[in-house]
Protein backbone atom coordinates (compact mmCIF):
# COMPACT_ATOMS: atom_id res chain seq x y z
CA UNK A 1 0.00 0.00 0.00
CA UNK A 2 1.35 3.38 -0.95
CA UNK A 3 1.79 6.21 1.54
CA UNK A 4 -0.79 9.01 1.69
CA UNK A 5 -0.03 11.98 -0.54
CA UNK A 6 1.39 15.14 1.02
CA UNK A 7 -0.85 18.18 1.53
CA UNK A 8 0.40 19.86 -1.63
CA UNK A 9 0.38 16.89 -3.98
CA UNK A 10 -1.86 17.52 -7.02
CA UNK A 11 -5.38 16.04 -6.93
CA UNK A 12 -6.15 13.72 -9.82
CA UNK A 13 -9.57 13.40 -11.43
CA UNK A 14 -9.69 9.75 -10.43
CA UNK A 15 -9.05 10.60 -6.78
CA UNK A 16 -11.68 13.35 -6.83
CA UNK A 17 -14.27 11.01 -8.36
CA UNK A 18 -13.68 8.37 -5.69
CA UNK A 19 -13.99 11.01 -2.98
CA UNK A 20 -17.28 12.37 -4.40
CA UNK A 21 -18.70 8.87 -4.73
CA UNK A 22 -17.87 8.23 -1.09
CA UNK A 23 -19.60 11.44 -0.08
CA UNK A 24 -22.78 10.79 -2.06
CA UNK A 25 -23.01 7.25 -0.72
CA UNK A 26 -22.76 8.62 2.82
CA UNK A 27 -25.65 10.98 2.04
CA UNK A 28 -27.86 8.19 0.66
CA UNK A 29 -27.17 6.21 3.85
CA UNK A 30 -28.16 9.26 5.94
CA UNK A 31 -24.82 8.86 7.73
CA UNK A 32 -24.63 12.60 8.32
CA UNK A 33 -22.23 12.24 11.26
CA UNK A 34 -19.72 10.79 8.79
CA UNK A 35 -20.44 13.59 6.36
CA UNK A 36 -19.50 16.51 8.66
CA UNK A 37 -15.77 15.63 8.93
CA UNK A 38 -15.47 15.61 5.14
CA UNK A 39 -15.53 19.40 5.25
CA UNK A 40 -12.85 21.99 5.97
CA UNK A 41 -13.62 24.37 8.85
CA UNK A 42 -14.25 27.18 6.37
CA UNK A 43 -16.22 24.95 3.99
CA UNK A 44 -19.35 26.38 2.39
CA UNK A 45 -22.35 24.27 1.32
CA UNK A 46 -24.63 26.12 -1.10
CA UNK A 47 -27.84 25.23 -2.90
CA UNK A 48 -28.52 28.41 -4.87
CA UNK A 49 -31.80 29.57 -6.39
CA UNK A 50 -30.35 31.89 -9.02
CA UNK A 51 -28.56 30.48 -12.02
CA UNK A 52 -26.57 33.59 -12.88
CA UNK A 53 -23.38 32.49 -11.16
CA UNK A 54 -23.39 35.53 -8.86
CA UNK A 55 -21.91 35.46 -5.37
CA UNK A 56 -24.44 33.50 -3.28
CA UNK A 57 -23.68 35.55 -0.18
CA UNK A 58 -25.55 38.45 -1.80
CA UNK A 59 -28.51 36.33 -2.93
CA UNK A 60 -31.30 34.30 -1.40
CA UNK A 61 -30.41 30.60 -1.51
CA UNK A 62 -32.07 27.31 -0.68
CA UNK A 63 -29.08 26.43 1.50
CA UNK A 64 -26.16 28.64 2.53
CA UNK A 65 -24.35 26.75 5.28
CA UNK A 66 -21.03 27.31 6.98
CA UNK A 67 -19.78 24.83 9.56
CA UNK A 68 -22.18 25.94 12.30
CA UNK A 69 -25.30 25.71 10.12
CA UNK A 70 -24.20 22.34 8.71
CA UNK A 71 -23.93 20.97 12.20
CA UNK A 72 -27.30 22.42 13.21
CA UNK A 73 -28.84 20.97 10.03
CA UNK A 74 -27.45 17.51 10.71
CA UNK A 75 -28.66 17.65 14.29
CA UNK A 76 -32.14 18.58 13.06
CA UNK A 77 -32.29 15.87 10.41
CA UNK A 78 -31.17 13.17 12.84
CA UNK A 79 -33.23 14.38 15.81
CA UNK A 80 -36.32 12.33 15.05
CA UNK A 81 -38.48 15.41 15.76
CA UNK A 82 -38.64 16.75 12.20
CA UNK A 83 -41.60 15.07 10.54
CA UNK A 84 -40.22 15.63 7.04
CA UNK A 85 -37.05 13.75 7.92
CA UNK A 86 -38.33 11.14 10.35
CA UNK A 87 -38.25 9.28 8.13
CA UNK A 88 -37.10 11.23 5.08
CA UNK A 89 -37.74 10.09 1.54
CA UNK A 90 -35.46 7.21 0.52
CA UNK A 91 -32.86 8.35 -1.98
CA UNK A 92 -30.46 6.89 -4.50
CA UNK A 93 -28.18 9.27 -6.36
CA UNK A 94 -25.60 8.82 -9.04
CA UNK A 95 -22.91 11.29 -10.06
CA UNK A 96 -21.21 11.21 -13.43
CA UNK A 97 -19.97 13.38 -16.29
CA UNK A 98 -17.00 14.49 -14.19
CA UNK A 99 -14.80 17.34 -15.36
CA UNK A 100 -11.60 18.42 -13.65
CA UNK A 101 -11.93 22.16 -14.05
CA UNK A 102 -8.68 23.13 -12.39
CA UNK A 103 -6.09 21.65 -10.07
CA UNK A 104 -3.43 23.31 -7.96
CA UNK A 105 -1.16 22.34 -5.11
CA UNK A 106 -3.38 20.01 -3.10
CA UNK A 107 -6.57 21.51 -4.54
CA UNK A 108 -9.01 20.78 -7.33
CA UNK A 109 -12.26 22.10 -8.71
CA UNK A 110 -14.44 19.35 -10.14
CA UNK A 111 -17.89 19.54 -11.61
CA UNK A 112 -20.30 16.76 -12.39
CA UNK A 113 -23.93 15.89 -12.96
CA UNK A 114 -26.12 14.27 -10.31
CA UNK A 115 -29.37 12.39 -10.76
CA UNK A 116 -31.22 11.77 -7.52
CA UNK A 117 -34.33 9.62 -7.22
CA UNK A 118 -36.42 9.95 -4.07
CA UNK A 119 -39.32 7.87 -2.84
CA UNK A 120 -41.90 8.53 -0.14
CA UNK A 121 -45.67 8.06 0.25
CA UNK A 122 -46.04 6.04 -2.96
CA UNK A 123 -44.41 8.77 -5.01
CA UNK A 124 -41.10 8.66 -6.85
CA UNK A 125 -39.50 11.94 -7.90
CA UNK A 126 -36.32 12.96 -9.68
CA UNK A 127 -34.00 15.85 -8.91
CA UNK A 128 -31.33 16.67 -11.46
CA UNK A 129 -28.41 18.91 -10.57
CA UNK A 130 -25.06 20.25 -11.63
CA UNK A 131 -22.57 19.87 -8.80
CA UNK A 132 -19.39 21.82 -8.28
CA UNK A 133 -16.77 20.84 -5.69
CA UNK A 134 -13.72 22.72 -4.47
CA UNK A 135 -11.56 20.07 -2.82
CA UNK A 136 -8.49 20.63 -0.68
CA UNK A 137 -6.08 18.29 0.98
CA UNK A 138 -5.91 18.31 4.76
CA UNK A 139 -2.54 18.14 6.53
CA UNK A 140 -2.71 14.34 6.44
CA UNK A 141 -3.17 14.43 2.67
CA UNK A 142 -6.82 13.28 2.61
CA UNK A 143 -9.37 15.33 0.73
CA UNK A 144 -11.85 17.76 2.28
CA UNK A 145 -14.66 19.84 0.79
CA UNK A 146 -13.93 23.57 0.75
CA UNK A 147 -17.05 24.41 -1.23
CA UNK A 148 -19.93 22.39 -2.66
CA UNK A 149 -22.54 24.02 -4.88
CA UNK A 150 -25.64 22.05 -5.85
CA UNK A 151 -27.32 23.81 -8.75
CA UNK A 152 -30.66 22.08 -9.13
CA UNK A 153 -32.04 22.14 -12.66
CA UNK A 154 -35.31 23.55 -11.32
CA UNK A 155 -33.85 25.68 -8.52
CA UNK A 156 -35.70 28.79 -9.72
CA UNK A 157 -39.02 27.00 -10.14
CA UNK A 158 -41.29 25.27 -7.66
CA UNK A 159 -39.65 22.52 -5.61
CA UNK A 160 -41.03 20.52 -2.70
CA UNK A 161 -40.07 19.90 0.90
CA UNK A 162 -36.69 18.16 0.88
CA UNK A 163 -36.09 16.30 4.12
CA UNK A 164 -32.55 15.10 3.37
CA UNK A 165 -29.23 16.54 2.23
CA UNK A 166 -28.30 17.11 -1.40
Amino acid sequence: MSALPTATEPVTLDEAIRFIWTETEILDRLAYREWLPLWTKTGLYVVPIDRDGGDPVEALNIVYDGAEMREARVKRLLSGFSMSSAPPARTARTTSRFVLESAGAGTARVRCAQILIEYKYGRTRTLGADLSYDLRRADDGTLRIERKVVQLLNSDDHLFGIGYLL
Binding site: V47, I49, L60, I62, Y64, R76, M83, F160, G161, I162
Partner: protein, 421 residues
Protein backbone atom coordinates in the same frame (compact mmCIF):
# COMPACT_ATOMS: atom_id res chain seq x y z
CA UNK B 1 -73.93 9.07 5.06
CA UNK B 2 -74.38 12.55 3.67
CA UNK B 3 -73.59 13.18 0.04
CA UNK B 4 -71.32 16.16 0.66
CA UNK B 5 -71.43 17.34 -2.91
CA UNK B 6 -75.19 17.69 -2.61
CA UNK B 7 -74.98 19.90 0.48
CA UNK B 8 -75.34 23.62 -0.12
CA UNK B 9 -72.06 25.47 0.46
CA UNK B 10 -73.58 27.26 3.45
CA UNK B 11 -74.00 23.93 5.24
CA UNK B 12 -70.36 22.94 4.79
CA UNK B 13 -69.07 25.76 7.00
CA UNK B 14 -70.37 26.06 10.53
CA UNK B 15 -69.26 28.53 13.15
CA UNK B 16 -66.90 26.02 14.74
CA UNK B 17 -66.08 23.48 12.00
CA UNK B 18 -65.75 22.86 8.27
CA UNK B 19 -66.73 19.80 6.27
CA UNK B 20 -64.30 17.27 4.76
CA UNK B 21 -65.61 18.15 1.28
CA UNK B 22 -63.85 21.54 1.47
CA UNK B 23 -60.45 19.86 1.05
CA UNK B 24 -61.52 17.04 -1.25
CA UNK B 25 -64.28 17.93 -3.66
CA UNK B 26 -63.03 18.98 -7.14
CA UNK B 27 -66.40 20.60 -7.90
CA UNK B 28 -66.03 22.85 -4.85
CA UNK B 29 -62.51 23.75 -6.00
CA UNK B 30 -63.85 24.78 -9.42
CA UNK B 31 -66.52 26.90 -7.74
CA UNK B 32 -63.89 28.53 -5.49
CA UNK B 33 -61.78 29.53 -8.48
CA UNK B 34 -64.82 31.25 -9.96
CA UNK B 35 -66.61 32.67 -6.95
CA UNK B 36 -63.57 33.61 -4.86
CA UNK B 37 -60.46 34.04 -7.00
CA UNK B 38 -62.28 35.63 -9.95
CA UNK B 39 -64.25 37.89 -7.64
CA UNK B 40 -61.94 39.57 -5.19
CA UNK B 41 -58.63 41.38 -4.82
CA UNK B 42 -55.77 38.92 -5.34
CA UNK B 43 -52.14 39.80 -4.54
CA UNK B 44 -49.88 39.67 -7.61
CA UNK B 45 -46.60 41.49 -6.88
CA UNK B 46 -44.70 44.01 -4.79
CA UNK B 47 -43.86 47.39 -6.31
CA UNK B 48 -40.14 46.63 -6.05
CA UNK B 49 -40.68 43.78 -8.54
CA UNK B 50 -41.55 46.41 -11.16
CA UNK B 51 -39.42 49.36 -10.06
CA UNK B 52 -39.00 51.26 -13.34
CA UNK B 53 -40.98 51.92 -16.47
CA UNK B 54 -41.09 48.97 -18.86
CA UNK B 55 -40.37 46.43 -16.12
CA UNK B 56 -42.56 43.40 -15.55
CA UNK B 57 -43.14 40.32 -13.45
CA UNK B 58 -45.26 37.29 -14.36
CA UNK B 59 -47.76 36.17 -11.75
CA UNK B 60 -51.20 34.58 -11.31
CA UNK B 61 -54.71 35.60 -10.38
CA UNK B 62 -56.19 32.31 -9.26
CA UNK B 63 -55.36 30.01 -12.15
CA UNK B 64 -54.95 32.80 -14.70
CA UNK B 65 -51.37 33.62 -15.74
CA UNK B 66 -50.86 37.39 -15.78
CA UNK B 67 -48.10 39.89 -16.46
CA UNK B 68 -47.69 42.72 -13.98
CA UNK B 69 -46.15 45.65 -15.82
CA UNK B 70 -45.10 49.21 -15.17
CA UNK B 71 -45.72 50.84 -18.53
CA UNK B 72 -43.76 53.64 -20.15
CA UNK B 73 -45.95 56.19 -18.39
CA UNK B 74 -45.06 54.57 -15.05
CA UNK B 75 -48.55 53.14 -14.51
CA UNK B 76 -49.15 49.64 -13.13
CA UNK B 77 -51.00 47.14 -15.32
CA UNK B 78 -52.05 43.54 -14.78
CA UNK B 79 -52.59 41.84 -18.14
CA UNK B 80 -53.71 38.33 -19.03
CA UNK B 81 -50.70 36.53 -20.48
CA UNK B 82 -52.51 35.46 -23.63
CA UNK B 83 -52.26 36.72 -27.18
CA UNK B 84 -55.61 37.96 -28.46
CA UNK B 85 -55.04 36.15 -31.77
CA UNK B 86 -54.72 32.44 -31.03
CA UNK B 87 -53.95 32.51 -27.30
CA UNK B 88 -50.20 31.79 -27.06
CA UNK B 89 -48.57 33.21 -23.93
CA UNK B 90 -46.66 36.40 -24.78
CA UNK B 91 -44.16 36.30 -21.90
CA UNK B 92 -42.42 33.34 -20.25
CA UNK B 93 -39.80 35.20 -18.22
CA UNK B 94 -40.22 35.62 -14.46
CA UNK B 95 -39.32 39.27 -14.36
CA UNK B 96 -37.24 41.80 -16.17
CA UNK B 97 -37.32 44.72 -18.54
CA UNK B 98 -39.29 44.85 -21.78
CA UNK B 99 -40.71 47.67 -23.85
CA UNK B 100 -42.85 45.31 -25.91
CA UNK B 101 -44.32 41.80 -25.63
CA UNK B 102 -44.17 39.89 -28.90
CA UNK B 103 -46.25 36.77 -29.37
CA UNK B 104 -43.83 34.05 -30.55
CA UNK B 105 -46.46 32.33 -32.72
CA UNK B 106 -47.47 34.91 -35.37
CA UNK B 107 -45.63 37.98 -34.16
CA UNK B 108 -48.42 40.14 -32.79
CA UNK B 109 -46.81 42.71 -30.51
CA UNK B 110 -48.20 44.56 -27.49
CA UNK B 111 -47.15 47.69 -25.62
CA UNK B 112 -46.46 47.31 -21.90
CA UNK B 113 -49.88 48.82 -21.14
CA UNK B 114 -51.40 45.96 -23.16
CA UNK B 115 -52.28 47.86 -26.32
CA UNK B 116 -51.90 45.92 -29.57
CA UNK B 117 -49.01 47.60 -31.32
CA UNK B 118 -48.44 45.71 -34.54
CA UNK B 119 -49.87 42.78 -36.48
CA UNK B 120 -47.61 41.26 -39.15
CA UNK B 121 -49.07 41.11 -42.67
CA UNK B 122 -52.20 42.91 -41.50
CA UNK B 123 -53.41 43.20 -45.10
CA UNK B 124 -54.50 39.58 -44.82
CA UNK B 125 -57.43 40.76 -42.69
CA UNK B 126 -58.81 42.88 -45.51
CA UNK B 127 -59.13 45.90 -43.21
CA UNK B 128 -61.56 44.09 -40.88
CA UNK B 129 -59.28 43.67 -37.83
CA UNK B 130 -60.52 45.76 -34.87
CA UNK B 131 -57.07 46.40 -33.42
CA UNK B 132 -58.43 48.82 -30.78
CA UNK B 133 -60.43 45.98 -29.25
CA UNK B 134 -57.61 43.46 -29.20
CA UNK B 135 -55.45 44.75 -26.34
CA UNK B 136 -54.22 42.20 -23.83
CA UNK B 137 -57.08 41.79 -21.35
CA UNK B 138 -56.46 44.21 -18.50
CA UNK B 139 -57.52 43.60 -14.91
CA UNK B 140 -58.29 46.25 -12.36
CA UNK B 141 -55.19 46.97 -10.30
CA UNK B 142 -54.56 48.92 -7.08
CA UNK B 143 -51.80 48.96 -4.48
CA UNK B 144 -51.43 49.69 -0.81
CA UNK B 145 -48.10 49.93 1.05
CA UNK B 146 -46.34 48.62 -2.07
CA UNK B 147 -48.44 45.47 -2.27
CA UNK B 148 -50.10 45.19 -5.68
CA UNK B 149 -53.48 43.49 -6.00
CA UNK B 150 -55.56 42.79 -9.11
CA UNK B 151 -59.10 41.66 -9.75
CA UNK B 152 -61.33 40.53 -12.60
CA UNK B 153 -64.23 42.26 -10.89
CA UNK B 154 -64.25 45.73 -12.37
CA UNK B 155 -66.94 47.09 -10.03
CA UNK B 156 -65.39 45.77 -6.79
CA UNK B 157 -64.95 48.08 -3.80
CA UNK B 158 -61.63 49.99 -3.68
CA UNK B 159 -58.68 47.95 -2.36
CA UNK B 160 -58.32 50.15 0.72
CA UNK B 161 -61.94 49.45 1.67
CA UNK B 162 -61.45 45.72 1.13
CA UNK B 163 -58.38 45.77 3.38
CA UNK B 164 -60.06 47.91 6.05
CA UNK B 165 -58.49 47.41 9.49
CA UNK B 166 -55.77 45.23 7.92
CA UNK B 167 -54.17 48.45 6.62
CA UNK B 168 -52.89 49.37 10.07
CA UNK B 169 -51.00 46.07 10.24
CA UNK B 170 -49.59 46.50 6.74
CA UNK B 171 -48.30 49.92 7.83
CA UNK B 172 -46.60 48.29 10.83
CA UNK B 173 -45.22 45.41 8.75
CA UNK B 174 -43.50 47.76 6.32
CA UNK B 175 -41.46 49.29 9.15
CA UNK B 176 -39.09 46.45 8.34
CA UNK B 177 -37.78 48.84 5.70
CA UNK B 178 -36.16 50.77 8.59
CA UNK B 179 -36.96 54.02 6.82
CA UNK B 180 -35.45 52.93 3.48
CA UNK B 181 -38.61 51.32 2.14
CA UNK B 182 -39.14 47.63 1.48
CA UNK B 183 -37.98 45.58 -1.49
CA UNK B 184 -38.16 41.91 -2.39
CA UNK B 185 -34.84 40.02 -2.11
CA UNK B 186 -35.73 36.70 -3.73
CA UNK B 187 -38.17 33.88 -3.23
CA UNK B 188 -38.55 30.24 -2.31
CA UNK B 189 -41.21 28.34 -4.20
CA UNK B 190 -42.57 24.88 -3.48
CA UNK B 191 -45.70 22.80 -3.89
CA UNK B 192 -47.44 20.40 -1.57
CA UNK B 193 -50.11 17.85 -2.41
CA UNK B 194 -52.95 19.41 -0.47
CA UNK B 195 -55.77 21.92 -0.61
CA UNK B 196 -54.96 25.65 -0.61
CA UNK B 197 -57.04 26.36 2.48
CA UNK B 198 -54.75 24.15 4.60
CA UNK B 199 -52.00 26.69 3.99
CA UNK B 200 -54.37 29.62 4.52
CA UNK B 201 -55.18 28.21 7.98
CA UNK B 202 -51.53 27.60 8.84
CA UNK B 203 -50.57 31.28 8.72
CA UNK B 204 -52.99 31.94 11.57
CA UNK B 205 -52.08 28.80 13.54
CA UNK B 206 -49.69 29.47 16.43
CA UNK B 207 -50.79 26.20 18.04
CA UNK B 208 -48.65 24.06 15.68
CA UNK B 209 -45.48 26.09 16.09
CA UNK B 210 -43.82 24.47 19.15
CA UNK B 211 -44.80 21.00 17.91
CA UNK B 212 -43.96 21.13 14.20
CA UNK B 213 -41.03 23.51 14.59
CA UNK B 214 -39.32 21.96 17.59
CA UNK B 215 -36.16 21.32 15.56
CA UNK B 216 -36.08 24.96 14.40
CA UNK B 217 -36.42 26.13 18.00
CA UNK B 218 -33.68 23.72 19.08
CA UNK B 219 -31.33 25.26 16.52
CA UNK B 220 -31.57 28.75 18.09
CA UNK B 221 -29.53 30.29 20.87
CA UNK B 222 -31.38 30.55 24.22
CA UNK B 223 -32.19 34.24 23.86
CA UNK B 224 -33.69 33.78 20.38
CA UNK B 225 -35.54 30.67 21.45
CA UNK B 226 -37.29 32.80 24.08
CA UNK B 227 -38.27 35.31 21.38
CA UNK B 228 -39.90 32.44 19.43
CA UNK B 229 -41.89 31.19 22.42
CA UNK B 230 -44.95 32.21 20.43
CA UNK B 231 -47.56 30.82 22.81
CA UNK B 232 -46.10 32.33 25.97
CA UNK B 233 -46.00 36.08 25.40
CA UNK B 234 -49.62 37.17 25.75
CA UNK B 235 -50.33 37.38 22.05
CA UNK B 236 -53.72 37.26 20.42
CA UNK B 237 -55.64 36.63 17.18
CA UNK B 238 -57.97 39.30 15.83
CA UNK B 239 -60.60 39.12 13.11
CA UNK B 240 -60.10 42.11 10.79
CA UNK B 241 -63.14 41.55 8.58
CA UNK B 242 -63.44 40.30 4.96
CA UNK B 243 -61.62 37.07 5.93
CA UNK B 244 -58.49 38.94 7.03
CA UNK B 245 -56.97 38.39 10.46
CA UNK B 246 -53.86 39.13 12.44
CA UNK B 247 -52.10 36.76 14.82
CA UNK B 248 -49.73 38.56 17.18
CA UNK B 249 -47.17 36.13 18.57
CA UNK B 250 -44.51 38.52 19.86
CA UNK B 251 -46.23 41.68 21.17
CA UNK B 252 -42.84 43.34 21.73
CA UNK B 253 -42.29 43.23 17.95
CA UNK B 254 -45.52 44.88 16.81
CA UNK B 255 -44.04 48.32 16.29
CA UNK B 256 -40.39 48.10 15.23
CA UNK B 257 -39.88 51.80 15.95
CA UNK B 258 -40.64 51.28 19.65
CA UNK B 259 -38.14 50.17 22.32
CA UNK B 260 -35.16 51.26 20.25
CA UNK B 261 -33.08 51.76 23.41
CA UNK B 262 -33.46 48.08 24.42
CA UNK B 263 -30.21 46.06 24.43
CA UNK B 264 -29.25 44.69 21.01
CA UNK B 265 -29.76 40.90 20.96
CA UNK B 266 -26.56 38.86 20.93
CA UNK B 267 -27.33 37.34 17.53
CA UNK B 268 -27.30 40.83 15.97
CA UNK B 269 -24.18 42.08 17.75
CA UNK B 270 -21.93 41.49 14.73
CA UNK B 271 -24.35 43.29 12.44
CA UNK B 272 -24.57 46.26 14.84
CA UNK B 273 -20.78 46.49 14.94
CA UNK B 274 -20.57 46.28 11.15
CA UNK B 275 -23.14 49.05 10.70
CA UNK B 276 -21.41 51.25 13.26
CA UNK B 277 -18.12 50.70 11.44
CA UNK B 278 -19.82 51.78 8.20
CA UNK B 279 -20.64 55.05 9.91
CA UNK B 280 -24.32 54.67 10.76
CA UNK B 281 -25.18 56.66 13.90
CA UNK B 282 -26.22 54.64 16.95
CA UNK B 283 -29.92 55.51 16.68
CA UNK B 284 -30.02 54.32 13.08
CA UNK B 285 -28.05 51.17 13.86
CA UNK B 286 -30.67 50.30 16.47
CA UNK B 287 -33.52 50.99 14.07
CA UNK B 288 -31.96 48.86 11.32
CA UNK B 289 -31.10 45.99 13.65
CA UNK B 290 -34.61 45.89 15.08
CA UNK B 291 -36.10 45.97 11.56
CA UNK B 292 -33.78 43.17 10.41
CA UNK B 293 -35.14 40.95 13.19
CA UNK B 294 -38.63 41.10 11.67
CA UNK B 295 -42.15 41.70 12.93
CA UNK B 296 -43.88 39.67 15.61
CA UNK B 297 -47.15 38.99 13.82
CA UNK B 298 -48.75 37.25 10.86
CA UNK B 299 -51.30 39.22 8.87
CA UNK B 300 -53.50 36.95 6.78
CA UNK B 301 -55.11 38.69 3.80
CA UNK B 302 -57.87 36.63 2.25
CA UNK B 303 -57.53 34.79 -0.04
CA UNK B 304 -53.90 34.45 -1.17
CA UNK B 305 -51.26 36.42 0.70
CA UNK B 306 -49.89 36.94 4.19
CA UNK B 307 -47.44 39.37 5.70
CA UNK B 308 -45.79 36.73 7.83
CA UNK B 309 -43.28 38.01 10.38
CA UNK B 310 -40.48 38.84 7.93
CA UNK B 311 -41.72 37.79 4.48
CA UNK B 312 -44.71 37.54 2.15
CA UNK B 313 -46.32 34.13 2.03
CA UNK B 314 -48.26 33.69 -1.21
CA UNK B 315 -50.48 30.75 -2.05
CA UNK B 316 -51.61 29.65 -5.49
CA UNK B 317 -54.24 26.97 -5.88
CA UNK B 318 -53.27 24.45 -8.58
CA UNK B 319 -55.91 21.74 -8.06
CA UNK B 320 -58.14 20.60 -5.22
CA UNK B 321 -55.19 18.65 -3.82
CA UNK B 322 -52.21 20.68 -5.05
CA UNK B 323 -51.02 24.12 -3.91
CA UNK B 324 -48.00 26.23 -4.71
CA UNK B 325 -46.45 28.40 -2.00
CA UNK B 326 -44.02 31.24 -2.52
CA UNK B 327 -42.09 32.72 0.37
CA UNK B 328 -40.89 36.13 -0.75
CA UNK B 329 -37.93 37.44 1.22
CA UNK B 330 -37.99 41.18 1.84
CA UNK B 331 -35.43 43.66 3.02
CA UNK B 332 -34.45 47.29 2.96
CA UNK B 333 -34.64 49.12 -0.35
CA UNK B 334 -31.32 50.91 -0.54
CA UNK B 335 -30.38 50.20 3.06
CA UNK B 336 -27.04 48.69 4.10
CA UNK B 337 -26.20 45.47 2.25
CA UNK B 338 -25.01 43.93 5.52
CA UNK B 339 -28.55 44.18 6.91
CA UNK B 340 -30.10 42.54 3.87
CA UNK B 341 -27.51 39.74 3.99
CA UNK B 342 -28.60 38.96 7.53
CA UNK B 343 -32.25 39.09 6.42
CA UNK B 344 -31.54 36.53 3.69
CA UNK B 345 -29.64 34.22 6.03
CA UNK B 346 -32.51 34.36 8.56
CA UNK B 347 -35.00 33.62 5.77
CA UNK B 348 -32.95 30.64 4.56
CA UNK B 349 -32.75 29.31 8.11
CA UNK B 350 -36.50 28.71 8.39
CA UNK B 351 -38.01 29.03 4.92
CA UNK B 352 -37.81 27.21 1.66
CA UNK B 353 -37.58 23.62 0.44
CA UNK B 354 -34.62 22.87 2.73
CA UNK B 355 -35.26 25.35 5.53
CA UNK B 356 -35.46 24.28 9.17
CA UNK B 357 -39.20 25.01 9.19
CA UNK B 358 -40.85 24.81 5.78
CA UNK B 359 -40.31 21.10 4.98
CA UNK B 360 -42.02 20.16 8.24
CA UNK B 361 -44.92 22.51 7.51
CA UNK B 362 -45.27 21.04 4.03
CA UNK B 363 -45.20 17.51 5.40
CA UNK B 364 -47.84 18.42 7.97
CA UNK B 365 -50.13 19.87 5.31
CA UNK B 366 -49.65 16.79 3.13
CA UNK B 367 -50.59 14.67 6.13
CA UNK B 368 -53.84 16.64 6.43
CA UNK B 369 -54.70 15.91 2.81
CA UNK B 370 -53.84 12.22 3.29
CA UNK B 371 -55.83 12.03 6.51
CA UNK B 372 -58.90 13.71 5.10
CA UNK B 373 -59.33 10.78 2.72
CA UNK B 374 -60.53 8.81 5.74
CA UNK B 375 -64.20 9.39 6.46
CA UNK B 376 -66.61 11.12 4.08
CA UNK B 377 -68.81 12.88 6.58
CA UNK B 378 -66.39 14.12 9.20
CA UNK B 379 -65.52 17.69 10.09
CA UNK B 380 -62.33 19.64 10.74
CA UNK B 381 -62.68 21.34 14.11
CA UNK B 382 -61.96 25.08 14.40
CA UNK B 383 -63.37 25.69 17.86
CA UNK B 384 -60.16 26.38 19.75
CA UNK B 385 -59.74 29.62 21.74
CA UNK B 386 -60.09 31.50 24.99
CA UNK B 387 -60.49 35.25 25.55
CA UNK B 388 -57.90 37.59 24.10
CA UNK B 389 -55.76 39.36 26.69
CA UNK B 390 -57.46 42.49 28.00
CA UNK B 391 -57.15 45.70 25.99
CA UNK B 392 -55.15 44.29 23.08
CA UNK B 393 -57.54 43.79 20.18
CA UNK B 394 -59.43 46.77 18.80
CA UNK B 395 -62.80 47.29 20.47
CA UNK B 396 -65.57 45.61 18.54
CA UNK B 397 -63.28 43.12 16.80
CA UNK B 398 -63.77 39.45 17.40
CA UNK B 399 -60.59 38.18 19.06
CA UNK B 400 -59.12 35.27 20.98
CA UNK B 401 -55.89 34.17 22.62
CA UNK B 402 -52.77 33.62 20.50
CA UNK B 403 -53.56 29.99 19.71
CA UNK B 404 -57.28 30.56 19.11
CA UNK B 405 -58.62 29.47 15.74
CA UNK B 406 -60.31 32.85 15.39
CA UNK B 407 -58.44 33.71 12.17
CA UNK B 408 -59.48 30.46 10.52
CA UNK B 409 -63.08 30.97 11.51
CA UNK B 410 -62.89 34.50 10.05
CA UNK B 411 -61.51 33.16 6.75
CA UNK B 412 -64.18 30.48 6.47
CA UNK B 413 -66.97 32.95 7.16
CA UNK B 414 -65.63 34.99 4.23
CA UNK B 415 -65.44 31.78 2.17
CA UNK B 416 -69.07 31.11 2.98
CA UNK B 417 -70.10 34.66 2.14
CA UNK B 418 -68.39 34.54 -1.24
CA UNK B 419 -69.43 31.00 -2.14
CA UNK B 420 -73.10 31.70 -1.41
CA UNK B 421 -73.27 35.22 -2.84
Amino acid sequence: MTDAAALPYADLVRDDRIHTALYRDPAIFEAEMDRIFNNTWVWVAHVSDVPDKNTFKTSFVGRHPVIVTRDKAGKLNVLLNRCRHRAASVCERKKGKASVFVCPYHGWSYDTDGRLRKVPHIKGYGGRLETDELSLVSLRVEEYQGMIFATFKQDIEPLVDFLGPAKKWMDLFMKQGAGFGVKTLGEHKFRFPGNWKIQLENTTDAYHFPVVHKTFLDSLDDETEDVFDVLGQGGWVEDLGNGHSVMVMIPDLINLEDNLDAPIPERFADLARELAAEGYPDAQVRRIVRAVGGSGFNLNLFPNVACSMAFFRVLRPIAVDETEITHVAIGMDGGPAAGNRVRMRLHEHFQGPMGFGTPDDAEGWERVQRGVQAGDDLWMMLNRGTDAPEGRAEAGHNAGDVSAETGMRAAYQMWKRMMTA
